[in-house]
């Protein structure tokens, strides 16, 4: 019911039956029409508000789905980024041998850590963890869990199985952090070459240290020049030799004679790279590259090459070895050498100190120093990638007098490392080119000529005779023409020669008609035995060891033996009869 009277505001007079509403918003009473209008506008307002809210929600949904969504999605999956550039599972490059077999690698692991301030039940957690990790005691875990710090490693580098076990305990305080561990699948085999890393995967020895930047900045495999099979054969023969001759140490290096790539390098005793905390420092000593020693008669190779190459000595020249040679304070004598005039060849075959000294004196100081420098025997081999490198010990040029010239001729008064000797030896026999040694295919090296090709050819012949007729007969391997030179020197300990202790060396190349590989074997302090007739000279220990190494590695290195057809057929026949 609508009445005109009601349109008037603040009208207190109402018709009978008229509906009267109390309006809180106005001063007085309102009629029905006004109320409807107010309701209508309020409803419209509420609809508007809801529409606005819906609009906001729609816009937001649109925004979230289409605009932010892409960004959020990216963030959500950022753990797996980048998309175009896949993440390699580890951050340190593998090291492989020359055939691509992995010899050092990082494996992804996890570290178990916690915030001790958040640990609620330390005793229970410690007990459970000590059950999962039996090597760590309950007390140790408890100490860690109750430490007053906000971060503590409970166990580093745990296995996936252990991680699953820890997870199954259900303690939210125990957290995992991705990590890596350096693993050496071949254990001791490349111990002195590879070195080791610390717990944070930083190199602390060997190639791991010297090439730390290369290994940690790129995940591309670092391919070494060493051969796994050859390395194994060399190490096994060295272990046998060390045991057989009761030696303190045995070392060997196999080198590609033309490229100076190191094919094998081993020094025993050695150690398992996967284990830590060795107390015996001796086992970590890489004698092959760090062991500076007086090599003895193997130096006669360089002395003879120098003499022939200088033109001052002809291969037919003879030297008086009938009596000892007095040089100042030194009296140079020979050991089991016929007292007669010796030719250059006989000097090497009988390893005459006297004749070698006479040869060197004829050549002179200046040429000798220049030649030894050229062969790299005066300097540390900086080019070699390994961290542990020895610096040769020698007299200064000023104090290099005639007695030094004479003693250097047969390898006394100068100390070098085995790697120095084999590199210089290779350059004498490979045609006369010196190339610095290397362990990787990534090195930049410069070669240089040190002797003429003709001198090199002559040296091959002379050193072959040493193996056929001289002190290296035990290395005259059937099928391979080996050439080499022995060396036995008194061992120097704390500046004094130790009586009865020898450093024996054997340096060889094969096959000598076209040399492919060079080998050096050093036996440190071999003991006399019945088998060696009481001798401790090189011919009784280093040489047979070298011979065994050559006969094992030559077939592996694809060096064809020089048997004629008849012998080959006989070998087939013998092999058949042996089997039956």
């Amino acid at each position: 019911m609508k009445l005109g009277i009601s349109k008037k505001k603040n009208n207190y007079l109402f018709a009978p039956g008229q509906e009267i509403y109390f309006s809180s918003g106005s001063f007085g009473w309102e009629t029905e029409d006004e109320t409807v209008n107010i309701c209508r506008s309020r409803i419209l307002f509420i609809i508007g508000v809801f529409l606005f809210i819906y609009l906001v929600i729609v816009i937001r949904i649109f925004n979230v789905c289409l605009v932010d969504g892409i960004q959020l999605d990216r963030e959500a999956f950022s753990y797996y980024r980048p998309k175009s550039d896949l993440v390699f599972p580890v951050h340190r490059a593998n090291i492989t041998d020359r055939n691509g077999i992995v010899i050092a690698t990082n494996l992804p692991t996890v570290n178990l850590f916690t915030n001790p301030k958040k640990v609620s039940n330390a005793k229970l957690i410690a007990r459970k963890l000590s059950e999962i990790f039996p090597t760590i005691s309950y007390e140790d875990f408890l100490i860690k869990l109750t430490r007053k710090s906000s971060f503590v490693y409970l166990k580093r580098n745990i296995s996936p199985h252990q991680q699953a076990l820890v997870n199954s305990l259900g303690f939210p305080e125990l957290e995992f952090q991705p990590s890596e561990i350096r693993v050496y699948p071949q254990k001791e085999l490349f111990a002195h070459i590879l070195g080791n890393t610390d717990i944070d995967n930083n190199g602390i020895a060997g190639l791991e240290k010297s090439l730390n930047d290369r290994l940690s900045s790129s995940t591309k495999d670092l391919r070494l020049t060493v051969d796994l099979g050859v390395q194994y054969a060399v190490r096994e023969e060295l272990l046998k030799a060390k045991e057989k001759y009761g030696a303190e140490r045995a070392t060997a290096v196999v080198m590609d004679i033309n490229s100076s790539e190191i094919i094998a390098l081993s020094s025993v005793p050695d150690y398992d790279l996967n284990k830590r905390g060795f107390k015996d420092k001796n086992i970590k000593f890489n004698f092959a590259t760090l062991g500076v020693y007086e090599p003895g008669s193997v130096f006669k190779v360089f002395n003879t090459a120098l003499g022939l190459d200088s033109g001052k000595i002809k291969i037919t020249d003879s030297f008086d070895a009938t009596k000892p040679l007095k040089m100042g304070r030194h009296l140079i004598t020979d050991y089991r050498v016929p007292a007669k005039w010796l030719t250059v060849g006989e000097t090497l075959i009988h390893s005459s100190n006297i004749a070698s000294a006479l040869m060197a004196l004829k050549v002179g100081k200046q040429l000798q120093i220049k030649f030894l420098k050229n062969l790299g025997l005066f300097d540390r081999i900086d080019n070699l990638e390994i961290y542990e490198k020895g610096r040769p010990l020698h007299r200064s040029e000023k104090s290099w007098q005639d007695d030094t010239v004479a003693t250097t001729a047969y390898g006394y008064g100068i100390s070098v490392t085995p790697i120095h000797i084999i590199t210089a030896f290779s350059s004498v026999l490979n045609g006369g080119i010196y190339t610095p040694p290397t362990l990787t295919f990534e090195s930049n090296r410069k070669s240089k000529r040190v002797i003429s090709s003709q001198t090199s050819m002559d040296m091959r012949k002379l050193l072959r005779d040493v193996v056929i007729y001289g002190s290296a007969k035990n290395a005259n391997i059937d099928g391979y023409e080996v050439a080499g030179k022995t060396g036995t020197a008194n061992k120097l300990e704390k500046g004094k020669y130790v009586k009865g202790k020898n450093m024996t060396s054997f340096v060889a190349a094969f096959p000598i008609n076209d040399p492919k590989y060079a080998l050096i074997v050093i036996i440190d302090s071999p003991k006399p035995s019945k088998e060696t007739w009481g001798f401790t000279t090189s011919g009784w220990n280093a040489v047979p060891t070298g011979g065994k190494i050559i006969s094992r590695i030559a077939p592996q290195l694809n060096v064809q033996p020089n048997y004629d057809l008849d012998t080959q057929k006989m070998n087939v026949f013998k092999s058949y009869t042996e089997k039956n």
Binding site: D73, Y80, K83, L107, Y480, P555, M570, V572
Partner: protein, 119 residues
Amino acid sequence: MSNVKTAITILWFLFTIVIGSYYFVLTNDVQNLEKELAQINRDIENDIRDIHILEADWSELNNPERLKVLAGKYISLDFIKPEQIINYSALPLEGEVFENPTMFAKNTRGLRQLANSER
């Protein structure tokens, strides 16, 4: 005129809806593809990690010491000796040595001498 205007407005409205829907579907597809790509990448990374671990395992399995023991135990193989390397011309015909060694020896001087000395 007003009808034309209305039609154009409706057309524009429909066009906007179509474009919007298409854009919505396309974006959704891209998101799904990105997720798929991320999953594929995760799978590849997992495979790379597995291969990486297997390479280490393979190296350990190829440890010469282990192979030596296994070869000695199961196939009686030993290290190759220099005399086992022969030229092609020294290779016997199939069964020549094993069935008739004398025939094989017949044309070989060294073997003939060996056979004579044994007689």
